[in-house]
């Protein structure tokens, strides 16, 4: 990383994508390293910037993964004359690696600057352009820009338009040497199909799809990526990965916390929009997709979209039989008594009278999904997500078919439980396979045991944060772990009719005590003989 100004800059910028390969780069990880670039964060005074983005950038610097000449520019309305110093404090507090390494931070801080301005004001973009041109000259960023829009969904289109009109974004070129401009967009990508389409339309009016990086941080998690390695990097599982051997699949995204003072936000979204439309459906696509032809972004995303298109729609009256929405009531979690969701609303109503005591917002959703494909026909995918559930856990449980013949049916200890494979996404990331084994001894007794792989135990606990991977990928132009426009629309295309049926039919909202595994009504979603796991 450059730590001082460039003395003279007549030469063209260095590039890793030269057509003639540099023989000295052979065998270096930098064969795929990003080119020198400036990362510009809109919403630089926000919580995400403080807690996640700048710590992620710092950790990339600590791992020497940032390109030389990297620059970071914050943009926000508030004046921040001490932006770099403020970010230093945040990194010290929120970085996964502590204590803060002064040398690395000082290097990074050389390239940190701040532009104060409102993105509704064209002069903000003029100031930003001047700053980026200064960085091009002094740090050799050469017109390469990664814009991170850490702003509300209503602001995205305005900023993109401002960037385009000010000439900070130009159409991508076929020339691999040409400077790049990419835009990372944070979720939510709309609140329904119509708004998602409108957002995509607004983005695509100014950007090429190849310049848009829609970020779902779940895809940056090691264990989510490992789903693909597990399935397609091993020979033994994929032959079992179909209706021939799998009885059903359970996907759980559970949190033990409630809405944590964000009642007004939650009243607008509910857990279906907050978790299911994006994270949970992303996991589903990775579990169910066909092998892609390569790790290329479009090859992977094509297969994910196919899964979403094979989801049998849930519409009209079926919504009530194949989904259950719920709301937590008062209960006990980890020994603490906690209030119910309606009580939380009630407590805030004096201050925020717009909150309705008749809220129908769901804090839990359970669904029975069906995929209309040769691989998955007849295999139920049970999906549940909830707040104030018994514990925080995200996992995929693959339940295999029962034994065709109970050879050990009457054997002591035999439970006739079929094998199951559990992929734990968080916490305690890992993979566990349950199978029967003979208890040592003269007789024949059977016991269920688990073969357990734990990421933390094998590789330590300091795995990179999702944002580190995703920011680096965006700089490298690797879009595999980002969501494509058609993917977002396919997700909303599936969710919209469910939301519509819940509102139009005044569907019931089942109560569940905080600290439980959700409403008992969700049991009715299960095919006879299946039960919800208690992770």
């Amino acid at each position: 990383m450059s730590t001082e100004q460039k003395v003279d800059a007549q030469s063209s910028p260095p590039s890793m994508s030269s057509i003639a390969p540099n023989p000295l780069r052979e065998g270096m990880p930098e064969q795929t390293a990003p080119r020198p670039a400036a990362m510009i964060i809109f919403g630089a005074s926000g919580d995400l910037t403080r807690r996640k983005l700048v710590p992620a950038v710092y950790n990339l610097a600590l791992s020497r993964l940032l390109p030389q000449g990297f620059a970071l520019v914050g943009v926000a309305r508030r004046p921040k004359p001490e932006f770099a110093a403020e970010m230093r404090e945040n990194v010290a507090k929120h970085s996964r690696r502590k204590p803060l390494n002064d040398a690395t931070w000082n290097e990074l801080a050389q390239g940190i600057s701040y532009v104060q301005g409102d993105h509704n004001d064209p002069t903000t973009f003029t100031k930003l352009k001047e700053e980026l041109e200064r960085l091009d000259k002094e740090r050799g960023t050469a017109g390469n820009r990664l814009f991170y829009l850490s702003v509300g969904p209503d602001e995205v289109a305005k900023i993109v338009r401002g960037l385009k009109e000010s000439g900070l974004i130009v159409a991508p070129s076929d020339d691999p040497e040409a400077p790049y401009q990419r835009v990372i967009v944070e979720k939510p990508f709309g609140t329904n199909l119509a708004s998602a389409k409108a957002l995509n339309r607004d983005l695509l009016a100014h950007l090429d799809e190849s310049q848009i990086y829609r970020i779902d941080h779940y895809l940056g998690k090691e264990t989510v990526q490992n789903l693909l390695v597990f399935r397609f990097g091993n020979t033994i599982f994929e032959p079992l990965w179909s209706r021939q051997h799998i009885d059903h699949v359970q996907i759980t995204v559970a949190e033990d916390i409630g809405v944590e003072g964000r009642v007004d936000f939650y009243e607008k979204v509910g857990i279906t929009r907050d978790i299911v439309q994006n994270h949970a459906l992303q996991i589903l696509t990775l579990v169910a997709m066909e092998p892609p032809s390569s790790w290329d972004a479009n090859a992977v995303r094509d297969e994910k979209v196919k899964v979403l298109r094979t989801l049998r729609p849930i519409r009209g009256a079926e919504v009530l039989s194949r989904t259950v929405r719920g709301r937590y009531a008062a209960g006990t979690i980890r020994g603490d008594k906690v209030p119910g969701y309606l009580e939380e609303i009630e407590a805030l109503r004096a201050e925020k009278p717009e909150l309705s005591k008749d809220s129908k917002t769901e804090t839990y959703v359970g669904m029975r999904l069906e995929l209309e494909s040769w691989r998955w026909g007849g295999v139920p995918f049970y999906l549940r997500a909830g707040k104030r559930l018994a514990k925080r856990v995200a996992e995929v449980a693959i339940h295999f078919k029962p034994l065709p013949h109970g050879l050990f049916h009457n054997t002591p200890g035999a439970t006739n439980e079929p094998n199951s494979l559990v992929i734990r996404i968080q916490p305690d990331e890992g993979i566990s396979l349950r199978f029967a084994t003979k208890v040592p001894g003269q007789g024949m007794a059977v016991r269920e045991v688990a073969m357990d792989f734990r990421y933390g135990a094998e590789f330590g606990t300091s795995t990179p944060e999702a944002y580190e991977r995703l920011i680096l990928d965006a700089m490298r132009g690797e879009a595999t772990l980002f969501t494509r426009a058609d993917e977002v629309e396919a997700q909303w295309g599936f969710i919209d009719p469910i939301l519509a049926a819940w509102s139009s039919k005044d569907a019931p909202v089942a109560n569940y005590p905080a600290g439980s595994w959700g409403p008992t009504e969700a049991d009715a979603l299960l095919v006879s003989g299946d039960t919800w796991r208690k992770p």
Binding site: M1, S2, T3, E4, K6, V7, D8, A9, Q10, S11, S12, P13, P14, S15, M16, S18, A20, P21, N22, P23, L24, R25, E26, G27, M28, P29, E30, Q31, R64, Q68, G69, A103, T104, E107, G140, D428, D452, R454, G456, A457, E458, F459, G460, S462
Partner: protein
């Protein structure tokens, strides 16, 4: 080898196996089962004087790449045919599970050392790779005995020298990683950067000058030179002269300066290259700054003109070791580099 000797070694192996079995078996019905963390077998061949440092290294490594670790040495206190051992384990709780990794220290008598490979093959976890590090003071008898048993070999040319490592490379097809080569990463990256937009100049280098502090045990510039020679297609004619890919003579110059805090002996302080683009000279230099020895001035003059200051960065030896284990993308490049370096060094 006498039968009695054979018995002593196999008894030692049986004793270790029994200790491991006892540890991994639940003592009582209902005991919390132990889960084994096993990404690899990590074997360090070292010298008794280095024991404490090597134990620390293993402990640090285990926190991010847990597995079965072996510390293997010649123990002068043992009878020639004896094998001494110490088995221990480190456990911690993760939720309801107790996760453990074990370590085995093996001391070989002088004669028993020739059986080290056989002992190791009996004790390694078979389903994960075996990575062997040749540490400072590693006895040749053990290195020679074990070098064929590894999936990856880690060396340090700063302590072994490039010629010794080249000898080892001829004895094994296993990939080799070199701590010294990893430590030069910033220098190599900065040199490569000279040519990112001037690839044609890689064939036309006519002068290489490396300055280093004096006093290193082995020539610190050797591995860098070997890397340049092999990557740039240069043919070695003598210690001072090689021929570039265009058939032109390349002058090799080595300069020394006195070690001075914060730099110890044998550290690179500057690299200068002369090359040509369309008949115009291009002078490239990367030299530590007088005011900050952990930063360099990177400069091009002539056919291209630009200059930056860069921090060289600092990574401790735990990081270097992890890179040696994980960064496999440069294995082929390194093998060619060390063979070229040994060739140059032997001239």
């Amino acid at each position: 080898m006498t039968p009695a000797g054979s018995g002593a070694v196999s008894e030692a192996v049986s004793r270790i196996e029994a200790e491991l079995n006892a540890f991994w078996s639940a003592a009582n019905e209902g005991d919390t089962p132990k889960a084994r963390a096993s990404t690899m077998n990590f074997v360090v061949i070292g010298a008794p004087a280095e024991t404490d440092r090597l134990r620390d290294e293993i402990e640090t490594l285990s926190q991010t790449r847990a597995g079965r670790a072996f510390l293997v040495m010649i123990d002068g206190h043992l009878a020639p045919w004896e094998v001494g051992s110490d088995v221990s384990a480190v456990c911690h709780k993760e939720g309801d599970t107790v996760v453990c990794y074990d370590r085995i220290e093996l001391g070989f008598g002088a004669i028993a050392a020739s059986r080290a490979a056989s002992v190791l093959s009996a004790l390694v976890l078979p389903e994960v790779p075996t990575i062997i590090e040749v540490a400072l003071g590693a006895p040749s008898s053990l290195v020679d005995a074990l070098v064929g048993s590894t999936d990856r070999l880690i060396v340090d040319t700063a302590t072994l020298g490039v010629r010794k490592v080249a000898e080892i490379a001829h004895k094994t097809k296993a990939p080799i990683a070199d701590r010294a080569f990893v430590r030069t990463f910033s220098w190599r990256d900065l040199i490569a950067r000279f040519f990112d937009d001037a690839v044609v100049a890689t064939k036309a280098v006519t002068r290489i000058r490396i300055t280093r502090t004096s006093g290193g045990k082995h020539e610190p510039a050797a591995i860098l030179l070997g890397w340049l020679f092999s990557r740039l297609g240069m043919r070695i004619e003598s210690k001072e002269t090689v021929v570039n890919a265009n058939g032109d003579k390349v002058t090799i110059e080595l300069a020394a300066e006195e070690p001075k805090d914060p730099l110890g002996p044998g550290e690179i302080t500057a690299i200068h290259l002369t090359t040509w683009i369309d008949g115009v000279a291009l002078e490239l230099s990367c030299a530590r700054l007088a005011e900050d020895r952990h930063a360099v001035c990177w400069k091009r003059e002539g056919a291209r003109t630009s200059a930056h200051h860069h921090a060289l960065g600092f990574r401790d030896e735990a990081w270097v070791l992890l890179k040696c284990i994980d960064a496999t993308e440069g294995d082929g490049v390194y093998r060619e580099a060390v063979l070229a370096a040994a060739d140059w060094s032997g001239r």
